[in-house]
Subunit: 191 residues, 2 copies
């Protein structure tokens, strides 16, 4: 349970099906507050400048020190595209143009839906935001394949490249049979 | 705040920025529980059988008595496509085949992201589920345009029709300038 520092009383939630509901939820034993946990939305993008890819080295857990795309949890009051732009600003101090939808990934184990766009940088202007150790533009063959933070970073980069010259694309989803729990490989992709 | 029936103590949450966070959240005054509210995902589909559209008349609020697409809140542990299939089963007792992504709509006012697919029915087999008063297949010209439940139902139907003959489509988003707070019109669409 997420909990503010310094609270005095104990948190005691019980897991059961609320009245009129169909699935078990965590319910506060004292006040009856029902903690409905919905799948969380991650918004982000594959950002290119010419034929190079913008990647951020994570300054925070999980996967601190590994490379990722500018992406993060969507906030209330913004659209998915707003969120993708905000994350690029926060993590890479980059002002991106969101183009079209690249993929929707499902990671059921952590109840996460990742909405990934194709985006571009007008100028190669960027720097490490608070959650990044460093930010860089990488040619395809220089991408640190064995140091990617998450399977979906690998999926997004390789799927992006497979449709790089297409202006209209049907968005991708998880590669066949993959649930995001494991990396497809640790080396560079086959092609 | 969602709350279980019959609880004894008062619910008292205060809205403030938790330690190390950047946005205000509701925090329990007693135990410090932080109620992170993320945007919620609705999954659904435009379901066709031949040139007819499957619609459900809502048995529940909001918009009881109005017509909608099979759609609802995504649950933990399922994928977006799983959720779209489950909703068609629950609301219309229909076994649909999810094809491809039609649209992602953003309704920031209620922090909702709607993920809508194109889907088909193999057989015209369906009936009203618990949350529906009735379910029907409608030819385009017979769709009850003035009795649609939500703006996004109108968007999905009309956008679907505009790409009906295309096998690969770039998914739609909100029509220009629309935020989902108002209906585009109450009568049938122009075409």
């Amino acid at each position: 349970m997420p909990r503010e520092a310094g609270a005095e009383a104990e948190v005691t939630f019980s897991r059961r099906v609320p009245t009129g509901d169909s699935l078990p939820r965590d319910i506060c034993d004292r006040c009856g507050f029902i903690n409905y946990v919905n799948p969380k939305i991650v918004v982000g993008s594959v950002v290119t400048y010419g034929d190079k890819f913008l990647l951020c080295r994570r300054a925070i857990e999980p996967r601190r020190g590994f490379w990722t795309l500018p992406a993060g949890f969507m906030e209330q009051g913004e659209t998915t595209e707003d969120g993708a732009r905000r994350e690029a600003r926060e993590e890479a101090n980059a002002d991106i143009t969101v183009r079209d939808l690249l993929a929707i990934y499902n990671i059921p184990r952590i109840a996460q839906v990742q909405i990934m766009y194709r985006a571009t940088l007008a100028e190669p202007v960027f720097s490490a935001g608070e959650e990044s150790l460093e930010v860089g533009l990488f040619a395809w063959e220089d991408i640190p394949w064995s140091e990617l933070a998450f399977p979906s970073v690998y999926w997004a980069l390789t799927q992006f490249r497979s449709v790089m010259n297409d202006s209209v694309i049907a968005p991708f989803t998880n590669p066949d049979g993959e649930n995001g729990n494991f990396f497809p490989l640790s080396g560079p992709p086959a092609s």
